[in-house]
């Protein structure tokens, strides 16, 4: 009898497990990259008829690996590696970092097991942490000349290849704004924080009760919002580094730092018109794309990486979306009110410790192929949908958000400052920002947490 019960329990248990495992086999990811790499998107054809790139035949037959931490371009990278292999004979194995794994942790564990990838796509802070210990020097590579403004230097040497430019700001849905205003909307007419507030009030009067979506995620608040206080110092990475050093050594008092005050003013405006004002920490990331595409909101603070979400929510490539700057004050001549921030976000690092000379050469050739061969140039933009940081790449991205950033970069209406902060900056100060967003802390407490954070850094 007892045995029978146990068998029954086990049997139903097994059945349930199987059911659960099949169910979870589908889609479970993190809010930051909800893209399904298997999704079929209509593709622009790649013209392979012209290829003036010179391949080194001695490298044919070499095998190299590429660790990819940008899930949404996995398919594109595989296609690129295949095209490259057809032309050069070098096989590039593209390994994805699984969802939820941090790329840095993955790379470090691969290094510790003595089997690191030849090339790895990492965030800038990761490259800086690993550069001198593990990476090969790329300062002499020809492509450095094409990406001058977007190189990351570690003690005057370049250890990484800037893969893409990503920009952030207030995404607007032009059609929705025009419908609410009842007139044409020119994004360039908004030049100051007061203009912006006036626009918001008009939108409210036009029927959009709360026009802004504000993500509660710590990476959005701690990195994308808060880092404006460093990056708008003078709009350069050097300036950002300088202001960080000043905060660290105490020579800059944050509570009297103009940009800090302006940032909080701007953030308060966003807070005030937040669609989730009643419960800002209950805001749902996936819903924001739907709200913006459907016109429940008109603005969403995010970056061009949000396009796949918007597309899933029903936005089309020929819809008019674009970015407004993060308005900080009422000075029309302040660059922060005119430009949006766009900087290289993903870097490719070449292993200099384990990879043989042959493998390093093949990897370097692959990077040059992306920059100089007609096929690589096309695939980077059309397949991977990336905004290339390379001046010589003539192709334009297809989606409106990337196109807006691309055009602003071309017209020099973007600033490329990117603050290099410790890796836990987004999570520790993201929490402080969440507290402020929820109205459970005041300005002094927020400033104090930022100062405390920097005081703890060595």
């Amino acid at each position: 009898m007892r045995k029978k019960v146990l068998t029954k329990v086990m049997a139903s248990g097994l059945a349930a497990t199987m059911m659960v495992t099949t169910m979870t086999g589908c889609t479970f990811g993190f809010a930051s990259d909800p893209d399904d790499p298997n999704e079929v998107v209509e593709e622009e054809p790649i013209d392979t008829s012209v290829d003036t790139f010179e391949y080194d035949t001695a490298l044919s037959g070499t095998n190299i690996t590429l660790l990819n931490s940008k899930a949404e371009i996995q398919v594109a990278l595989e296609a690129m590696s295949q095209s490259y292999e057809e032309k050069s004979g070098v096989h590039v194995e593209v390994m994805p970092v699984t969802d939820g794994d941090s790329p840095y942790t993955k790379v470090v564990s691969l290094y510790n097991s003595g089997n690191p990838p030849t090339l790895s796509i990492l965030d800038t802070t990761d490259v800086i942490a690993l550069a001198e210990e593990k990476a090969a020097d790329l300062s002499e590579e020809p492509w450095t000349a094409e990406a001058e403004d977007y190189l990351t230097y570690v003690n005057d040497k370049v250890y990484s290849f800037p893969l893409c430019i990503e920009g952030r700001g207030l995404i607007y849905n032009k059609a929705v704004i025009e419908e609410a205003l009842g007139e044409a909307f020119d994004p360039e007419s908004i030049q100051t924080l007061d203009d912006f507030k006036a626009l918001l009030d008009k939108l409210v009067a036009g029927g959009i009760e709360k026009p802004i979506s504000l993500a509660k995620e710590d990476w959005s608040l701690g990195a994308h919002h808060l880092q404006y206080i460093y990056e708008t110092y003078d709009g350069t990475s050097e300036g950002a580094a300088e202001v960080i050093n000043k905060i660290k050594d105490g020579s800059l008092d944050l509570s009297s730092y103009e940009r800090m005050k302006e940032f909080m003013d701007a953030f308060d405006v966003l807070k005030e018109y937040n669609v989730a004002k009643g419960d800002p920490l209950g805001a749902d990331y996936d819903e924001m794309a739907i709200d913006l595409a459907d016109g429940k909101t008109a603005l969403w603070f995010n970056g061009n990486w949000a396009w796949p979400n918007l597309q899933e929510a029903g936005a089309e490539n020929d819809d008019e979306y674009g970015f407004l700057p993060y308005f900080l004050n009422n000075d029309k001549d302040d660059f922060a009110n005119q430009m949006i921030q766009g900087s290289p976000s993903k870097q490719v690092m070449l292993d200099g410790q384990f990879a043989s000379e042959q493998e390093q050469k093949a990897a370097k050739q692959f990077l040059n192929w992306i920059v100089y061969s007609e096929i690589g140039q096309q695939m980077l933009v059309k397949k991977a949908n990336i905004i290339p940081p390379f001046k010589n790449n003539p192709y334009e991205p297809a989606d409106p958000l990337s196109r807006d950033i691309y055009n602003r970069v071309q017209e020099e209406k973007a600033f490329n400052a990117s603050a290099i902060v410790p890796n836990d900056h987004w999570s520790v100060l993201g929490a402080a920002m969440q507290k402020y967003l929820a109205g459970r802390s005041d300005r002094e407490e927020l400033v104090q947490s930022i100062e405390d954070y920097w005081a703890e850094q060595e």
Binding site: V5, V9, V20, D279, L281, G282, P422, N423, A432
Partner: protein, 290 residues
């Protein structure tokens, strides 16, 4: 002769097990303890010996102590609730009620769903389903997501953990109840023992071995909670629901302070080992043979 065959037997039966035990448990553990004394960052080729500096880093890490305190609160609530509920349900499910096999399987199912998945499912329930119920009915309890308020988020964590862990403990208690000797129970009835007396004087002492194992399992699992913590709240709102295990991970891999993180992990291990060791010692003493 005898010692020789003993040696051979040892090699045949114990050595493979011992080898695995040492390779995946003892050696990494000792190596881990050694790492707490170095400044290794996970990448560098050289590891410098820095003595107890990492431990002074732990002392200074206020967030760690906050999260440890929160873990204690969580453990107490979860262990009590899980065991009371599981014991009561198991008692009911061995009374011969209709469909009890079905109920046993039903209560056990949450345990089969991995903590991560469970966390996501409940996150949806708390932040969407409940909020919609709140909007429809106007109940202020559900008006805003539970996960955006520190104390309600903690309650949510407890609720989900209890829901998940109870099933497993029910199974163990059910086995315990079924192992109770009917003769003893019958003898007690004949002697005139009724409900409550029977429970405290006969059932509880005889169930002590199940209680020992259930307390141990819930204690250690509650102390080491990570998956549900990560997927349900992720430490949100603003880091107030970050438990010790999660903090250790964050310290080591997000803040990249491997040494301090490792030292915190060691401290957490010692705390859990002492507490569950004490518990096993004392509850074992209560066990009786029928």
């Amino acid at each position: 002769m005898k010692t020789k065959s003993n040696g051979k037997d040892f090699c045949m039966f114990a050595l493979p097990g011992m080898f695995c035990f040492f390779a995946v448990l003892v050696i990494p553990f000792i190596y881990g303890v050694y790492l707490t004394l170095t400044d290794w960052n996970g990448v560098a080729k050289v590891k410098n010996f820095i003595g107890l500096k990492n431990f002074s880093g732990v002392v200074k890490d206020a967030q760690f102590w906050t999260s440890l305190l929160l873990t204690f609160k969580y453990v107490i609530v979860v262990v009590l609730l899980v065991n009371i509920i599981a014991f009561a349900v198991a008692y009911l499910l061995t009374r011969g009620i209709k469909g009890q096999n079905f109920f046993r399987a039903g209560f056990f199912t949450p345990n089969l769903i991995g903590g991560i998945v469970l966390g996501y499912i409940w996150q949806f329930v708390f932040s969407r389903v409940f909020v919609n119920i709140g909007e429809a009915t106007g109940w202020s309890l559900f008006e805003v997501s539970w996960l955006s308020d520190p104390s309600k988020a903690f309650a949510a964590l407890v609720l989900v953990s209890v829901w998940q862990l109870s099933g497993y403990m029910i199974l163990i208690y059910v086995a315990g109840f079924m192992g109770l000797n009917e003769d003893v129970m019958e003898a007690a009835s004949i002697d005139g023992a009724t409900g409550w007396i029977k429970m405290t004087k006969i059932v509880l002492p005889l169930m002590m071995s199940s209680i020992t194992i259930c307390l141990f399992l819930t204690l250690s699992r509650a102390f080491m909670v990570y998956d549900v913590n990560l997927s349900l709240t992720g430490g949100a709102p603003y880091g107030t629901t970050e438990m010790a295990a999660m903090h250790v991970y964050e310290k080591a891999f997000t803040s990249r302070q491997f040494g301090v993180g490792q030292a915190e992990a060691l401290i957490l291990f010692i705390v859990v080992a002492i507490i569950s060791g004490t518990q096993v010692y004392f509850t074992k003493k209560q066990e009786v043979e029928a």
